[in-house]
């Protein structure tokens, strides 16, 4: 089952901290929602650091990073 981290509107470094927490808890796919472009990049880097693959897309109010 895909987990979701809704980090929209949160200040740095909260989006990465929430993503990190979920990635550490298991290998399920995760969908992370963020508002700012630099937060998308930070979440992508976090996924990469955990050896996970990811894709990103623009949403109506920000970005969604899908971590496989």
């Amino acid at each position: 089952m895909m987990k979701e981290v809704d980090a929209r509107g949160l200040s740095c470094p909260e989006p990465v901290m929430l993503t990190e927490e979920v990635l550490k808890s298991g290998n399920e796919p995760v969908r992370v929602l963020v508002t700012e472009p630099h937060q998308r990049m930070n979440v992508e880097k976090c996924a990469k650091d955990h050896g996970r693959k990811y894709t990103s897309e623009e949403t109506e109010d920000g970005f969604a990073v899908m971590i496989g």
């Binding site: 987990k3 979701e4 981290v5 809704d6 980090a7 929209r8 509107g9 949160l10 200040s11 740095c12 470094p13 909260e14 990465v16 901290m17 929430l18 990190e20 927490e21 979920v22 508002t35 700012e36 472009p37 630099h38 990049m41 109010d61």
Partner: protein
Amino acid sequence: MNLSDSKKKLALAGAVCGIVAAALAYFGNPANMAFCIACFIRDTAGALGLHSTETVQYARPEIIGLVLGAFLISAATKEYRSTAGSSPMARFVLGMILAIGSLVFLGCPLRMIIRMSAGDLNAWVALIGFVLGVGTGVFALKKGFSLGRAHLAGRMSGAVLPVLLLGVLILSLATTLLKASQSGPGSMHAPVLLSLAGGLVFGAFAQKSRMCFAGSIRDVILMRNFDLLTIIGSFFVIMLVYNIASGNFVPAFDTPGVIAHSEHLWNILGMYAVGFAAVLAGGCPLRQLILAGQGSSDSAITVLGMLIGAALAHNLGLAASATAVNAETQEIVSGSVPLNGKIAVVICIAVCFIIGFGNKRTEGR
């Protein structure tokens, strides 16, 4: 254009900002101050008549340029987003703390690095407090601290501060309405257009590289991530080279004329408050200006908090005095932190603890 996807680009961004700061110091900004966010916001508060210390009043074009530079580059690269609503009043108070703590130390984190690069050992002492403050902020984050979500706001909301600052620039250039120091640090400045250009370039590079003095140490403590520290490192090296080449490198504590004091405990505690407040606010004073430029009304509120905090620091006698030479006797008069300033720093730290451990994240996953 993305400057934050490799350490080389980040180092380049830091170097460019270092060259800007060195150039502004060379062309007239106070040496060993060069480009200080807290000092320049304080000068701007004085220009607007918010405080009456006549030696520190000047609408610094660097501050205006930083915000406008971030605004223009973020609009051009589609990173501008008008957002608001994340505990604005807590952020206003954090802005006040950023200014008051900085003016007790006599400089923001950016100037702390500049002072360190000029051999000012007081700044190295203050770094201890700054790192401890950032560390305490990280501890609060790990305990679940959050100021809550910002939401997308009307497109114009994020443009209000950039437009207001553009207005200040026009008033300073075209009228005599604003105050301008005739002596003291406020009277020392590079030519207006150079300062403005420097601010625009610095702002654009800071926006693209996510430069943040508190964030750089926060990321190292929290995630063992050295990316943002790379920017600070290259900025430091450029300033170090400039200071050595220009003869401004003096490794000492009580150096007259560099706008610093040697009250170690209060240098440490002042920057402790700044480091703590900066982590809670999501960025150092420079980063707040950049975020305000790219559309965050919450950061704009933090900037207004810094403006009022800086004014209070002078109106209520909180700001430290700098070590100087008595013109008549040629004796060195040590700078100091007034009692009011010491009380204010203690209150600032207490307020940081209340905000840091009284605001918990309630949702997110």
